[in-house]
């Protein structure tokens, strides 16, 4: 654990990609199995165990330290895991060794050996909830400061170290001078601690083969296109289709050992969501892997995201729910066709295979995402501005924008820049007033970077601001500094990491907030919740009294749910 902690610690500070790569390769080279395999899993987000709640960590430290000292320390450090890691009391003189050795054999008698990463990961998988606090405390006793920090980040699921899964795999590939793409292709069939992978990379065995009949394949994502990007792009190189406002999924079917068809539905992060959509499974009756969008269709018409929302996060999928919200898969791409892996083919070739596949499926629940014909960017801009008359017809309200895909591009996992672009419809915009600010995490922990904003509504005591959302991105670094300064100078009250910021009709900061959609939410005092809110602009010029009113949002909500 200590060696993994040192790696995380060093990665967290190193800005250069090549240097990060070098650190990772060195770690994989000098660390033994299975520890390095679990490290690779941790870095690629492939570990799964129930995360510990921050409340549990708080309880542990409260039992062991003076609350005043903890409060002062937490306020100074700004991060719970780090505070606890640093001020965790030494349990015995021998417990807090500064060394970075993983080995337990070398530990002298009476010194508790510090847990290895393998110990931690395998224990957490099976540990009961009631046993967790005592076990965690024991590990914290045995580790040094950096080890405790890494452990707490790991168990709370808050490991943000600024490296992508792709980079970790690239480092593993470098160990055996392999092309990282090779690892990507075999990745779905591998599982931690990746003993076969490392054996192959070190030339000790053959390339691992995939035995899972329904593997998840890492998803390809698009970059948001900016106006300035078009100049360098030729419209003839791209195919366009609608970006549907549903849930991106991967529907995979394959034959198990006995030749029976198995089907799985994955979210774009690889989470198995088959159980939530049993009504789609019978439709996936041909072996293959479809990349598509889950939608609710009623009478052949695509419903808005608000309707689809009703089918999400349900514990029980009742026949009534299935009937009221009939699920549908709109196919964008074909990644596998029976035994064949299509990901190395070009988009045009895959699209032809997809059309044939969907036709062969011949199922009312699965259809093709139509392409949008266009000859120039101007024509496409017109289609995006008016999807209704450009082919989307009555489904236009469920169109979020336009997707651009290079005709000659293979299917690449992650978010490669260039082959795919998303061109969203203009977002909704309101002017809201900054009400509360909270310190951010990670490299923003010294800044107030999470903002709660509100709009005006009539209250018992006259006009008042009601919170309608929270945003923590969209602003530039320079704007972050400006808001942070504003928050510090205009704080009216402090509650731990949260500051109340002045918000009076003539005093306060107006934020122009952009968002993608709205929905009703009984959890919010205002009754509405925003999708993807972000700070679009700072309106230093605008007095808070001129910010928007709740009625504006309610009107918008009506138009969005009316159909």
């Amino acid at each position: 654990m200590n060696r993994f902690a040192e790696l995380l610690d060093r990665l967290a500070y190193e800005p250069g990609r090549n240097n990060k790569l070098k650190l990772l390769v060195a770690y994989f080279r000098k660390t033994e199995d299975p520890d390095r395999g679990y490290a690779l899993a941790a870095l690629t987000g492939a570990l799964s165990f129930k995360h510990a709640k921050p409340g549990l960590i708080r309880d542990l430290i409260t039992e062991r330290t003076d609350p005043v000292l903890f409060g002062l320390s937490y306020d100074y450090v700004g991060d719970l895991s780090e505070t606890v890691a640093l001020m965790w009391p030494k349990s015995s003189p021998s417990a807090a060794s500064g060394g970075g050795e993983e080995g337990r054999a070398s530990s002298p008698h009476n010194t508790p050996p510090s847990p290895t990463l393998t110990d931690v990961v395998t224990t957490l998988r099976t540990l009961g909830k009631t046993e967790l606090p005592a076990r965690l405390a024991r590990w914290l006793d045995e580790l040094d400061e950096t080890g405790r920090w890494a452990l707490l980040k790991l168990v709370t699921g808050a490991m943000r170290i600024g490296i992508s899964a792709r980079l970790a795999k690239t480092a593993a590939a470098a160990l055996g001078n392999k092309d990282p793409h090779e690892i990507e292709l075999m990745w779905p069939g591998l599982s931690p601690p990746y003993l076969e992978l490392f054996a192959w990379l070190e030339g000790r065995s053959d390339k691992p083969v995939n035995r899972d009949p329904t593997p998840f394949r890492p998803v390809m994502l698009a970059h948001a296109i900016e106006d300035s990007d078009f100049a360098a792009l030729d419209a003839a190189d791209f195919s366009a289709e609608w970006k549907w406002d549903g849930i991106r999924v991967q529907a995979v079917s394959g034959r198990d050992e006995r030749g029976h068809i198995q089907a799985r539905l994955y979210s774009r992060t690889g989470e198995d969501i088959t159980a939530s959509f049993p009504d789609l499974v019978p439709s996936l009756h041909l072996p293959g892997a479809i990349d598509g969008e889950l939608l609710v269709l009623r009478g052949g018409r695509v419903q808005t995201f608000n309707v689809l929302q009703q089918r999400l996060n349900r514990k029980v999928v009742s026949p009534k729910l299935i009937k009221e919200f009939p699920i549908h898969l709109r196919a964008y791409d074909l990644l596998g066709d029976d035994e064949a892996d299509l990901r190395e083919l070009t988009f045009v070739e895959r699209r032809a295979r997809l059309e044939a596949f969907v036709q062969k499926l011949n199922d009312p629940r699965i259809d093709l995402s139509p392409t949008i014909p266009f000859a120039s960017w101007e024509e496409l801009a017109a289609a995006r501005a008016d999807p209704k008359s450009a082919g989307a017809g009555d489904d236009a309200d469920a169109v979020e924008g336009v997707m651009l895909k290079r005709r000659d591009a293979p299917y690449l996992p992650g978010r490669p820049k260039g082959p795919w672009w998303k061109w969203k419809r203009d977002p909704h915009i309101i002017d809201a007033v900054l009400m509360y600010a909270q310190r951010g995490h990670g490299k923003r922990s010294s800044y107030y970077s999470d903002y709660t904003f509100g709009v005006w509504a009539a209250g018992e005591d006259g006009e008042q601001l009601v919170p309608v959302g929270k945003a923590y991105f969209g602003f530039t670094d320079e704007e972050l500094l400006q808001i942070d300064r504003f928050v510090r100078r205009n704080t009216t009250e402090k509650f731990g990491p949260v500051r109340h910021v002045v918000h009076e009709p003539d005093q306060g900061l107006v934020l122009e907030v952009a968002f993608e959609g709205l929905q009703r939410s009984p959890r919010h005092k205002s009754g509405v919740a925003m999708r993807f809110p972000r700070i679009n602009r700072l309106r230093w010029d605008k007095p808070p009294r001129e910010a928007d009113r709740l009625e504006t949002l309610e009107r918008l909500l009506m138009t969005m749910t009316a159909n």
Binding site: V68, L72, S73, E82, L86, G98, E145, S446
Partner: protein
């Protein structure tokens, strides 16, 4: 007589009326007793200065010969009579020549410890616990999150990075007085025997350490070196220089910083540090609390730093404690400026 009749904080610093002197005054006074050579404690322009020989030498190096009207070198353990009080200097373990000043008057003993640390440092005399009635302690790292650990293991971390990135230069930000020489000495103890490079601002003070018999191995000026020749080397520089155009002469430098502040990630990141090294010349939380207990003092005055937490801790241990309102301390390196010829290329 109460302790505050012997020593009390005034605008110029800690004032001893019955002895007719100030300790580490921040404004010019008639007679000053100075704990150590850092610029926030040792200022120029006093009438008379009493300090250890090393502290006086360091002041002369920084300010020139006329830095005070008169000077008197005081050895560790030597007792001097000043007015109604006696004063004695004891090693503080902070930097070369650093001292705690014990002031005794009518049976009351107060120790003004200046800056101190209670861990090993090959470049200065070790800290000595001085039993007293009132202990005046710094609180630079007066929060329980500050636990510095072994300096040797931090140096190991630096050497591991040097061997992992042989094509890059390692730039270690360190205060010019004390920290830089300690880091060099620790590198030598760890077996590193290649030449170590120095920023121009550190040359004078570092050769002074060598003159005083502290072995630091082969040192070279970074000035005038070819970029390619600095690959795989270690250079010590004042913290301010590591984010300066000065760094452009180094090949893809790894920026390290040796400081107790490096314990807190947000703090390290703010400074753009890539390799934080937790090496401190101030006592950490465990050091502060252990020292307070070891002095046997019943009353603790806490100055410059995180006073609140340490005062709270003292009170939970049944000790009378209060923050001492002294300003002007804590920026040890602020007055370091880049000498001509170092800036630019």
């Amino acid at each position: 007589m109460r302790p505050q009749d012997i020593l009390m904080p005034v605008a110029a610093g800690l004032c001893c009326k019955p002895g007719g002197f100030h300790i580490d005054p921040v404004r010019p006074v008639e007679r000053a007793l100075i704990t150590h050579g850092h610029s926030d404690h040792a200022r120029a322009g006093h009438g008379a200065v009493l300090a250890t020989r090393e502290t006086l030498d360091m002041m002369r190096l920084r300010y020139g010969d006329g830095f005070a009207g008169s000077v008197q070198a005081v050895a560790y353990g030597e007792e001097i009579r000043l007015g109604d009080v006696t004063a004695k200097f004891h090693p503080a373990g902070h930097v070369l020549g650093s001292a705690q000043i014990e002031v005794a008057c009518k049976g009351i003993r107060i120790v003004a410890s200046g800056d101190y640390k209670d861990v090993r440092d090959p470049t200065c005399a070790p800290f000595e616990v001085v039993p007293c009635d009132v202990f005046i302690t710094e609180a630079t790292f007066g929060l329980p999150v500050f636990r510095h650990g072994e300096a040797a293991s931090e140096v190991k971390k630096l050497l591991a990075s040097v061997s992992l990135f042989p094509e890059r230069a390692h730039l270690v930000g360190a205060y010019s007085l004390g920290k830089a020489q300690r880091v060099i000495a620790l590198l030598r103890e760890a077996g590193y025997d290649a030449p170590i490079y120095l920023h121009g601002a550190m040359e004078k003070i570092t050769s002074y350490y060598q003159e005083r018999g502290i072995p630091l191995g082969e040192l070279r000026a970074a000035r005038g070196m070819k970029k390619a020749d600095l690959a795989g080397t270690i250079t010590l520089a004042p913290p301010s220089a590591t984010s300066d155009v000065w760094t452009r002469r180094f090949p893809d430098p790894v920026t390290a910083f040796a400081s107790g502040w490096m314990r807190v990630r947000a703090r390290a990141r703010q400074g753009g540090v890539e390799l934080p090294l937790v090496i401190s010349d101030h006592a950490d939380w465990d050091g502060l609390t252990a020292t307070i207990q070891a002095t046997g003092a019943g009353e603790i005055w806490v100055t410059h730093g995180q006073e609140d937490a340490l005062v709270h801790w003292c009170r939970t241990r049944g000790l009378a404690a209060q923050p001492l309102d002294l300003v002007g301390y804590g920026d040890e390196d602020e007055s370091e400026t880049t000498p001509a010829g170092e800036a630019g290329a």
